[in-house]
């Protein structure tokens, strides 16, 4: 009887230990499964993130290539219109000079024409080169280049340009300065081409360690949401540059209310 009792107690102990061990094993399995599935999920979401990033980069690359092609087309057009056609005239005139039966009066006339045309061609080529890379930016920095840009726009006499620049020299690296300059150039271009504005405002100022750039016009404006859907090359070019600059930008516009753009720039560590 006593032995039987003991036997039962023994079984109880073994049972208890076995149940506890079974619980531990179940817990271990549960934790391992939890780890396995979390891992799967995390890796999946990271993969998705990476794919999204790649798609975005692809898009940027595509627009960059398109912009490049457009730019080439424009340069080709400029060269063709401003230089090739005029050089043709020079060549024709020079040809006429080589004819034997030609009066000195005519010679003089042709020579003046050649002089005039070559002068024009020189001026045009200088302008094209200037458009491609403004020498002021390279030599005197962003502030001088922006000032010059303002003056050039003002010289057309169709706009009132309000330019208020404050920029500590070498605040941004040379590459970044070029991007900022291009953004402003594109903004001016858009205003000139489409906005029918009369007043343009460009302002840069320091706020803490940030450089703030404001640009606005009083033109006819546009609906930002519809414009975003049908991104023109100019706008996406600006956005790409903003992304490269690691800057933040806001664009406010609505029909008949002009446009206002704000850019916040940091010197950052990613420049060379």
């Amino acid at each position: 009887m006593v032995e039987e009792l003991l036997f039962q107690e023994d079984y109880q102990i073994v049972d208890l230990i076995l149940i506890a061990i079974a619980l531990l094993v179940a817990m271990a399995v549960a934790i391992i499964l939890f780890f396995y599935f979390s891992r799967k999920r995390i890796i999946k979401s990271e993969l998705e993130k990476a794919n999204l990033k790649i798609a975005n980069q692809k898009k940027i690359l595509q627009t960059t290539l398109i912009t490049q092609e457009e730019e080439r087309k424009r340069i080709a057009q400029d060269l063709h219109d401003a230089i090739s056609s005029k050089l043709n005239i020079v060549s024709l005139n020079a040809n006429m000079l080589s004819l034997k039966d030609i009066s000195s009066e005519e010679t003089n006339k042709i020579a003046t024409s050649i002089l005039k045309v070559t002068g024009n061609v020189l001026e045009s080529s200088r302008k094209i080169a200037h458009d491609l890379l403004p020498p002021t930016l390279d030599k005197f920095g962003l502030e001088a280049a922006l000032e010059e840009l303002c003056e050039e726009v003002a010289e057309t006499n169709s706009f009132e340009v309000d330019c208020n620049l404050q920029y500590p020299e070498h605040f941004l690296g040379k590459d970044k300065e070029l991007h900022v300059f291009r953004i402003v150039q594109e903004l001016f271009n858009n205003s000139i081409k489409y906005s029918e504005a009369t007043n343009l405002t460009l302002k840069t100022e320091m706020e803490g360690k940030q450089l703030l750039l404001y640009y606005s016009d009083n033109g006819k404006g546009f609906d930002v949401s519809t414009a975003k859907k049908s991104k023109g090359l100019g706008m996406s070019g600006i956005e790409n540059r903003v992304a490269i600059l690691n800057a933040t930008h806001t664009l406010l516009s609505s029909p008949n209310n002009g446009i206002s753009v704000t850019l916040a720039l940091n010197p950052g560590n990613d420049e060379n």
């Binding site: 079984y11 102990i13 073994v14 094993v25 391992i32």
Partner: protein, 214 residues
């Protein structure tokens, strides 16, 4: 039934020795964590062989003192192993404290050398289990060659804590029948075989194929 478990037990020991040999053979071209783990496997294999040998020549259970070597050395080597993977300096502090506690136990009751030490086993295995959980957490979103080994260690150490912790109970034959004793022992053998199998799988997947490609 017993013969099946005997075979499993022998298989576990054979696997243990095989793994130790394989890891030693692949020692040269692998990192520090791998080397530490290889040494751990060798030490464990030596202890296992020693225990089996003692059992063979003197059939009475007197190889219990080897068990102290087993869990203390396991704790030391696995701490170094996980330190290589987790790089947390406080792990050394934990190592020092735990070794201190065990040393104190031995000074206090030297007779414990011939008994189970449930507290020591529970603490050392529990801490290694915590390390393996930290390892899981750290490598949630990246891969590591030791993931499978970590699963094995986590599973075996967590499950076997109770088997070892109830060791004195089991050892005391008056409290428990031989049937219960063998049941626990065999359960441990099966779990241990699982761990050795996963260690072997790691070697097969990560190292064996690498070497043959070369």
């Amino acid at each position: 039934m017993d013969t099946l478990f005997d075979i499993l037990s022998d298989l576990a020991i054979a696997f243990c020795v095989l793994n130790a040999l394989l890891y030693i053979f692949w020692l040269k071209e692998n990192n520090k964590a791998f080397k530490i783990f290889a040494v751990y496997l060798v030490v464990i294999a030596v202890i296992q062989l020693n225990a089996s040998y003692l059992k063979l020549i003197i059939p009475i259970n007197n190889n219990l003192f080897l068990f102290h070597f087993y869990y203390i050395l396991q704790f030391i080597f696995l701490t170094f192993f996980y330190f290589e993977l987790l790089k947390q300096k406080w792990m050394y502090v934990v190592l020092g404290i735990v070794l201190g506690i065990i040393t104190f136990q031995f000074i206090e009751t030297p007779a414990m050398f011939f008994r189970y030490n449930p507290l020591g086993v529970t603490i050392t295995q529990g801490i290694i289990v915590i390390y393996s959980v930290l390892f899981f957490y750290k490598y949630l979103h990246e891969t590591n060659e030791f993931l499978i080994i970590n699963i094995g260690l986590f599973f075996y150490l967590l499950s076997s804590i109770l088997i070892f912790a109830s060791g004195n109970l089991v050892f005391n034959m008056e409290l428990i029948t031989e049937y219960g004793y063998h049941l626990l022992l065999n359960l441990n053998n099966v779990l241990y075989l699982g761990l050795q199998f996963l260690i072997f799988v790691t070697w097969w997947k990560n190292y064996y194929s690498k070497k043959t490609i070369k």
